[in-house]
């Protein structure tokens, strides 16, 4: 099987300026995404995991174009999105890229009916010619397993799970090939979360979708992802196929993250206790002033003095597809 990369991120950077004074002089940068590269295979699910504030949401938003990247390239279906100047052509590509946001309560306009919400992308991408809006909307709702009675309701009349279904329907409206899912189930209860994850899986098979899943929940990742990248303070520290990463985590941060998951079954307890590592001290660094060298070194139990605190570790491949940025493995 040949692997086709639908999305390639190369050395992507997104810095936000810190300004001061009435003239808005730039006094520093928040390096939310700092030199991130990865490839996503068509039809797979690529998960980006990390704690809050590690830059994973910024990464997702930069890919869909909400933020202008500071540097680097986003190659989607062979075309570098950062270099397209022709607006019309850019839209052609962008409509194949959609996003589902974390909190459906704030991502759906409370003053518009569901039918208008899910067909908004059609207006934006001018796909509505010759198609009945109502028909399209009820088809979309059918895809996410909601019936037509929802068409004329407002978001506040819906439960959290139903709202997230509407948000997914809206993302599907422009017939995308890749969807960025930014914490799609974090705002939901577990019994509803399971249903939404099932729906996403069914949709992926049916419509041959590719997902980039941004989440902090490693147990969810274990269930849905094919590839996993672990992000820490704006950088990817480890990346690999799911089974490999969960069974053989290498980076001290990944191991700490895995060992801290609250689990319920005895076999899970056994699984987690395999990574028995001392929990890292302190807190993630400020992205405006990250430490030199490996960004994890001030908290790392295995930090090598004079090495980890001096130069950024290279991202090396230890096994096919399994890459890690840590001096312990060089």
């Amino acid at each position: 099987m040949t692997k086709e990369y639908i999305l390639q991120i190369k050395n992507l950077k997104k810095y936000f300026p810190i300004t001061a004074g009435i003239l808005g002089k730039v006094v520093g940068w928040i390096k939310a995404v700092d030199d991130v590269s990865f490839n996503v295979i068509r039809g797979s699910t690529y998960a980006v995991v990390g704690e809050s504030g590690c830059g994973k949401t910024t990464l997702g938003r930069t890919i869909v174009g909400i933020y202008e990247p500071t540097d680097g390239s986003i190659i989607f279906k062979g075309i570098d999105l950062t270099k397209i100047r022709d607006k019309k052509r850019a839209l052609e590509y962008k409509r194949k890229l959609a996003m589902v946001f974390q909190d459906p309560t704030s991502s759906l306009n409370p003053r518009r009916k569901i039918v208008d919400i899910v067909t908004t992308p059609l207006d934006i991408y001018r796909l509505n010619r010759g198609r009945d809006k109502l028909e399209v909307a009820s088809e979309l709702l059918k895809l996410v397993e909601l019936d037509e009675t929802f068409l004329y309701r407002y978001p506040h009349e819906l439960s959290g799970g139903q709202r997230q279904r509407v948000a997914i329907a809206r993302a599907l409206a422009s017939e995308p090939e890749l969807i960025i899912l930014d914490e799609p189930t974090s705002a939901l209860d577990v019994s509803v979360q399971a249903k939404i994850l099932q729906l996403l899986e069914r949709l992926q098979k049916k419509l041959n979708l590719t997902y980039v899943l941004i989440t902090h929940d490693l147990s969810v990742v274990k269930h849905v992802a094919d590839y996993v990248a672990v992000m820490y303070a704006g950088k990817i520290v480890e990346e690999g196929p799911r089974e490999e990463l969960f069974n053989n985590p290498l980076h001290p941060y990944t191991r700490a993250l895995l060992s801290a998951i609250p689990v319920i079954l005895p076999e899970e307890v056994d699984f987690v206790s395999r990574f028995k590592v001392p929990l890292p001290d302190g807190e993630p660094p400020k992205l405006s002033d990250p430490p030199p060298g490996c960004r994890f070194h001030p908290r790392c139990p295995n930090a090598i003095k004079g090495k980890c605190d001096v130069k950024t570790p290279p991202f090396i491949e230890v096994k096919p597809g399994h890459r890690v940025a840590c001096y312990l493995y060089t």
Binding site: S191, V192, A194, S219, H223, S259, P262, E268
Partner: protein, 332 residues
């Protein structure tokens, strides 16, 4: 004897849309020295119970039943006496440290206020000034000591900091220090780790387990995460839609769940070892017009006629294992 005894508790909210029957016939005991987790999904009424115990529900809430603390019914007590008990015996750890603490005052101010207001319903301005002066040095000494217990390395810097200068994990530690500083006999913790990252959450949970060994207190811990409940609690109460559906030791709840809701909940949690996710059909319940009979019946795979007619009572299945379900009850 039970430290806290809740019996036939009902809480209704009077709203413009009608009467919402939020807590419906809830009874349970909390033994001295135990750690108990109240588990359920959002909107199931776990926080309402804690707020009913502390009497901090809004005015439109109607509370009926018995909440007995050391044999005294708190609901019948007059305000001054209640505040004295609350100040001496209860501590509350809220969910969101950033909203629980004021951004206008330092951590030191919060500590002083905690002691100045403790056990009093009202403090006049004049009294406040003099009490503050009198107590502050002593309180700050104590505060530094407790901050060290919750593993804050430099208590003096933290005491002089404002909330925006500290991270979520640090603030939650401060709140825990405040909660244990008065040596309470009952700590009520409302999802204290939900807003935190997993590594910080693990640290806080380890800390609370340590503390429980050192200072022998009773904890009621609210969470929606069964994994967290397993870490912290000896006994778990599972709630659904304002009712208790199952009470058992944490081991029994997780490995041998009986109620269809508990089963469904556990089967919905993504496991690290894989396995299919089931989920539960249907969604939130309408508290204005809750389902007749068992409140879970519209979502229950086992539901029969009797479930639609009659509300099930909690029945004892094993030693210490109680479940409220007609179908499971019949089988035993």
């Amino acid at each position: 004897m039970a430290l806290l005894e809740i019996k036939d508790l009902y809480v209704d909210f009077r709203t413009v849309d009608g009467l919402a029957k939020v807590i419906d016939d809830v009874s349970f005991d909390v033994k001295e020295g135990e750690s108990l987790a109240l588990v359920g999904e959002s909107g199931c009424g776990k926080t309402t119970i804690i707020k009913a115990i502390l009497k901090i529900l809004p005015d439109y809430a109607i509370v009926r039943g018995n909440i007995k603390f050391k044999g005294i019914n708190l609901l019948e007590l007059d305000e001054d006496k209640f505040y004295r008990i609350k100040g001496r015996d209860f501590s509350y750890i809220p969910q969101e440290p950033l909203t629980a603490l004021s951004p206008l005052y330092t951590i030191a101010d919060h500590f002083i206020d905690l002691f100045v207001f403790s056990g009093k319903r009202k403090v006049s301005w004049f009294e406040y000034g003099s009490l503050r002066k009198k107590m502050s040095s002593e309180v700050l000494e104590k505060a530094a000591e407790y901050l060290r217990i919750v593993k804050i390395p430099d208590p003096d810097r933290v005491l002089n900091s404002y909330t925006i200068q500290l991270s979520g994990g640090m603030l939650q530690r401060c709140l825990i220090a405040m909660a244990i500083a008065k040596n309470p006999s009952l700590i009520l913790a409302d999802e204290p780790t939900t807003a935190l990252d997993v590594i910080t959450q693990k640290e806080i949970l380890n800390l609370m387990k340590d503390l429980r060994k050192r200072v022998k207190t009773t904890i009621i811990y609210i969470t929606h995460n069964l994994g967290v409940a397993r870490e912290i609690a000896e006994r778990i109460i599972v709630m659904y839609a304002g009712k208790i559906v199952e009470i058992a030791s944490s081991e029994d709840v997780l490995l041998n769940p009986l109620h269809p809701y508990t089963k469904g909940l556990i089967e919905s949690i993504p496991k690290l070892t894989g396995g299919e996710l089931k989920g539960i059909e249907g969604g939130v319940i309408n508290y204005y017009n809750p389902p007749k009979g068992c409140r879970f019946h519209p979502r229950c795979p086992l539901a029969r006629d009797i479930c639609r007619r009659e509300a099930p009572k909690l029945i004892r299945v094993n030693r210490g294992h109680l479940v409220a379900c007609h179908i499971i009850g019949e089988r035993i």
